[in-house]
């Protein structure tokens, strides 16, 4: 399957230190395992690469001969997602693997022995969870930065 990354997205993922090969790996695994969130043709998939959880937000264009993925965005975090704490309201996303509606909820997340809760999209059936882009690039990045900053 072809993967298309528009120039403006390339710039963003470059700044975030994500390799194009990682994006390809995330999309390929999600498309073969069907473990991903879907919403009106949009897909959100994740894969652990090294110490980092890489997320790719992409659309699938189904052509006559082949289908290809158009990447909307990608982001990462190193905080480890643990168990679901609660599931509140509908998120609009569907867990493709379970074919169940995924909810907005909270997940316990751990980083460097510290455990705190954070908002996430959760599938109560399979127990999987996904951090959204705003959380990963703001709050979680700030936490990781706090630990990192103190090294220098």
């Amino acid at each position: 399957m072809d993967i298309k990354i528009p120039d403006n997205v390339k710039e963003v993922i470059g700044k975030r230190g994500i390799k194009e090969a990682d994006i390809e790996a995330v999309v390929k695994e999600a498309e073969s395992s069907n473990k991903k969130l879907v919403k009106n043709g949009r897909n959100l998939a994740k894969k652990k690469i090294g110490d980092v959880l890489v997320y790719v937000d992409y659309d699938i264009d189904k052509g006559v001969l082949s289908k290809h993925a158009k990447v909307n965005s990608a982001y990462t975090h190193r905080i480890v997602l643990q168990h679901i704490v609660n599931a509140d309201g509908p998120s609009g996303w569907t867990c493709a693997h379970c074919n169940e509606a995924a909810a907005f909820g909270h997940v316990q997340m751990e980083y460097m022995t510290v455990k705190r809760n954070g908002p996430a999209v959760v599938c109560a059936k399979c127990g999987d969870s996904w951090a959204e882009e705003y959380l990963a690039t703001k709050t979680l990045a700030a936490v990781e930065g706090l630990f990192e900053k103190k090294r220098a």
């Binding site: 905080i79 997340m109 460097m112 022995t113 510290v114 705190r116 809760n117 954070g118 709050t139 979680l140 700030a142 936490v143 706090l146 630990f147 103190k150 090294r151 220098a152």
Partner: protein
């Protein structure tokens, strides 16, 4: 087993002449062994733990030398200092002494305050010293106003205002706090003038410690000063001179005490007693608290809450000059160290001095608690709450044993980033400025002031 692991230059404790010195590893200790042709051989303990001593080398920074210097001749370190072309690291903190008078006369005093000489510069002389700093140091410029006791000067607010108006970015005041506990209005005025934090001498949590270090029980006056700082929201670093037999057994208590005073107290700075200025006796090895000794005591006395490996060199000064840790105070009252040796040295060891100066500016300032509009309840137990806590409920624990005439090494002097400014337009590494011989002769302090 005795092995030579390095060589350097040091000073003769009697005549202060520059003499070669070997670093010798023996019985898991590191010694400086040096011989003066006139006064004989000296063997001084400088580190306990040979592997640790060597391992710290990986934290060594890429030096960024000062862009401008006052002395142009090479090869005369440390006799002609100012800084000179042999100096490797630029300035991250300038010590500006505004008097040598003091309202105490402590048995321990690096500045030998109240004796030998009088130094009490006029506003014009202080203006010249600020100008020297502005001429040689890059922004952001961090100045510590010191002494003697700076708060005996009624014109301290004017001195601070002058520095800020001339372009000094950050000013802290080194104080015993006695006047600040008695005179809330004076404290308010130095804060309003632009003092960002206090470097506040605090040697222990019981009165007998002060009887030994300061000649009288000063615990109550110290607590009054802290209470006033809390009232005016002045950030404080507790500075604890550590000596065996006096207060080494209280380092854990000082940490527990500091936790109760967060966020007024931002940090603790432990200074193992150095043998310069006024001190009780000529040191033996057992009188020496070397950096690893202090860190082991902290681990022991905090029951592992802060560990030996929670401390890393700042990588700004020489790796054997200092250690620091940074912790967040968690909801349950325990400290979570964010620093650890396990993370390894910083990836970017360039421009560390610049980063250090920025960090001092960011972290030692009193941060308003009400940064967030969310209620405490919403933040409790969340990552956002953790960030909010980290902004205000943190404690920096650092340590720097100053070099004295016994332990001094040329490469540590040349990598030094803490400099005293002098009225004759020079910047001199703080330790070198204060070092004195056995009979009290100094290379710089008594010649300059």
């Amino acid at each position: 087993m005795s092995e030579k692991i390095g060589e350097t230059q040091s000073l003769c404790p009697h005549c202060l002449r520059t003499i070669p010195a070997d670093k010798i590893a023996e019985n898991d200790n590191v010694y400086l062994v040096k011989t003066c042709p006139e006064h004989g051989t000296f063997k001084v303990l400088i580190w306990r733990g040979v592997e640790d001593y060597r391992d710290l080398q990986r934290y060594a920074c890429v030096f960024s030398p000062p862009e401008k210097i006052a002395v142009q001749t090479k090869g005369t370190c440390p006799e002609v200092c100012g800084l000179c072309p042999d100096h490797k690291q630029h300035t991250c903190l300038v010590v500006l002494e505004v008097t040598n008078r003091c309202n105490l006369k402590c048995p321990v005093c690096f500045a030998s305050a109240n004796e030998r000489y009088k130094f009490h510069p006029t506003i014009d002389e202080i203006r010249k010293m600020y100008q020297t700093i502005l001429d040689y140091v890059q922004h952001p410029i961090v100045v510590q106003i010191s002494g003697g006791e700076p708060t005996i000067r009624d014109d301290l607010p004017e001195i601070v205002k002058l520095g800020k108006s001339m372009g000094i970015d950050y000013i802290e005041v080194n104080t015993n706090g006695i006047r600040l506990g008695e005179d809330l209005d004076y404290l308010r005025r130095i804060k309003d003038a632009g003092v960002s934090s206090l470097y506040f001498s605090f040697d222990g949590v019981t009165g007998d410690v002060y009887t030994k270090t300061c000649g009288k029980d000063l615990l109550e006056p110290k607590l009054r000063a802290l209470e006033n700082c809390r009232k005016v929201e002045m950030g404080v670093t507790l500075v604890c001179v550590v000596a065996p037999g006096i207060n080494l057994h209280q380092v854990g208590d000082v940490i527990q005490f500091a936790k109760k005073w967060i966020p007024t107290v931002k940090g603790i700075h432990f200074q193992p007693l150095s043998y310069f200025g006024r001190y009780p006796k000529v040191p033996e090895d057992e009188d020496r608290v070397v950096l690893p000794d202090l860190l082991r005591e902290i681990e022991k006395q905090t029951n592992g809450e802060i560990r030996f490996d929670s401390f890393i060199p700042t990588s700004c000064a020489n790796v054997h000059c200092d250690a620091k840790s940074m912790s967040v105070l968690l909801e349950d009252g325990s400290l979570l160290p964010l620093t650890t040796r396990a993370l390894g040295p910083p990836r970017d060891t360039k421009n560390v001095a610049t980063k250090t100066r920025k960090e001092i500016c960011d972290l030692w300032r009193y941060i308003e608690e009400s940064v967030s509009t969310s209620s405490e309840e919403e933040l409790d137990g969340t990552w956002l709450g953790f960030i909010e806590r980290a902004k205000t409920r943190y404690l920096t624990i650092s340590a720097m044993p100053f070099q004295d005439v016994w332990t001094v090494e040329a490469e540590r002097l040349q990598g030094c980033c803490i400099h005293t400014v002098t009225p004759d337009g020079k910047l001199i590494p703080f330790c070198l400025f204060n070092i004195n011989s056995l009979d009290g002769k100094t290379l710089y302090r008594h010649k300059v002031f």
